[in-house]
């Protein structure tokens, strides 16, 4: 049986700020760490060995894409200047409602940015790994970038509707019709591949 766990409610004072750092689901007020969620108390070592106190809820709370986070998105439409995407996952957590994002032409690749053609990098329906570079301003959505080796298209379907196999960093081939298509392919790290 699990050890007796402590439940806390919002506003409850957990400990003083000197004893532990405020983890997720908590905030500090007047030198004390207080709970911000209704859930289970978890004490643990945080980053750097500093003891941390966090409140966990069983149901997933909505996560927001943060600057620097790697997100999984699906391309909805492309343009000569940018590609519009729907952000589906933040890291490995699925989002309850999709957020909209934009990948500008100059953020698709790190090298030879002016020679990039969006039509040869993404197509509508592709699943892309990208990194959030900005939360956007009053007019725009989240700005994403694929200017790294590990970012880019991971799943794409050919015109025949079959999932394509990557050949190089800029080409994918359909296993059925053997036609080659241009995409900006992601070099997925071996630990994320399922064999």
């Amino acid at each position: 049986m699990a050890a007796a766990r402590r439940y806390c409610v919002p506003g409850e004072r957990l400990c003083s700020a000197a004893e532990a750092a405020a983890g997720s689901g908590t905030y500090t007020r007047r030198g004390a760490v207080c709970a911000a969620l209704a859930g289970c108390l978890r004490r643990g070592g945080g980053a750097g060995g500093v003891p941390q106190v966090a409140v966990l809820r069983d149901a997933e709370a909505q996560l927001l894409p943060d600057v620097g986070a790697v997100v999984t998105c699906r391309v909805c439409s492309i343009n000569s200047r940018f590609a519009k995407v729907h952000i589906l996952y933040v890291g490995s957590t699925p989002l309850r409602s999709a957020f909209r994002g934009t990948i500008r032409r100059e953020d698709i690749r790190a090298t030879e940015k002016d020679k990039v053609e969006v039509y040869k990098s993404f197509r509508p329906g592709d699943i892309v790994l990208a990194k959030v570079i900005s939360l956007g301003d009053a007019q725009s959505n989240y700005l994403l970038s694929t200017a790294e080796n590990e970012l880019g298209v991971v799943v794409a379907r050919s015109e025949a509707g079959v999932q394509m196999v990557p050949i190089s960093w800029c080409e994918m081939q359909c296993p059925q019709t053997h036609t080659k298509d241009f995409r900006k392919v992601a070099r997925v790290q071996p630990q994320f591949l399922q064999t």
Binding site: G11, A36, Q62, A138
Partner: protein, 245 residues
């Protein structure tokens, strides 16, 4: 026929309560599966339902998004069958807009909005039966719904109304007591820190009496906090038991 006394000679109100006594409070969390958070509350005969969505991407004009905080969007509406006579306009009239604005102000003080920049949190409250203390029931229901949705809160927000009848301060007014026209105050309190999120006073009140009315309201808010606290702890315990571990 003798007029209805708001406070009898023995110190009883029309519904048999003592001046500082609250109406029976019943609450349930997680009543709906689709919204992120929901709650239902009954304070005496007043029944209120609150539903929370969020935090999610801004709907509507993106220029209204706040760059460092979440936008709290509240809507208050009364069901057409909630009052004695059928209500013509459930929402959009001046009273509802004012209530929505008060709710927004109250919850912007309590929700940790800095954690969700450029997003929106929607709180919808519906009164199913109005018998006095509408705003207070809404605030209490919305607090439970926000906790159910897992949105970080600084503290509970507990609200209660209080009035004055012949030098005696009454807590938690019913519709009869509100309609009598005496001074009445609605207080929304963050109980642990004792901070007030909203204080609204109708009709005129001498400043010497303000202390008594505020005390009655404060005491009532703390009593509401005790009940809501029990409901939340039971709900959390139930949830963790259902999910195992």
């Amino acid at each position: 026929m003798a007029a209805l006394e708001l406070l009898s000679a023995e110190g009883f109100r029309p519904d048999g309560r003592r001046p500082a006594e609250l109406r029976k409070l019943r609450a349930r969390m997680g009543v709906f599966a689709q919204p992120d958070g929901s709650a239902y509350i009954e304070q005496g005969n007043t029944k209120a339902l609150a539903v929370v969505y969020g935090p999610h991407e801004m709907r509507g004009p993106r220029s209204k998004a706040l760059p460092d905080r979440a936008l709290v969007n509240c809507q208050y509406s009364m069901a057409t069958f909630s009052t004695g006579e059928r209500k013509r306009r459930p929402h959009g009239d001046r009273k509802s807009s004012e209530m929505s604005l008060h709710l927004k102000q109250t919850f912007e003080a309590a929700i940790l909005t800095e954690l969700f920049p450029r997003s929106q949190i929607d709180i919808y409250v519906q009164i199913l039966q109005a018998d006095g203390g509408n705003y207070c029931a809404c605030v209490n229901a919305a607090t439970l719904a926000v906790i159910d949705a897992g949105i970080p809160l600084r503290d509970y927000v507990c609200a209660s109304s209080a009035g004055l009848v012949e030098d005696a301060a009454l807590a938690d007014l019913s519709y009869l007591e509100e309609a009598a026209g005496g001074p009445q105050a609605a207080l929304a309190l963050l109980p642990t820190s004792g901070q007030m999120a909203l204080l609204q006073l109708d009709s005129r009140l001498h400043e010497d009496r303000l202390g008594a009315v505020l005390e009655a309201a404060g005491g009532a808010c703390r009593a509401v906090h005790a009940v809501l606290d029990r409901v939340v702890r039971e709900h959390v315990r139930e949830l963790t038991a259902l999910l195992g571990d």
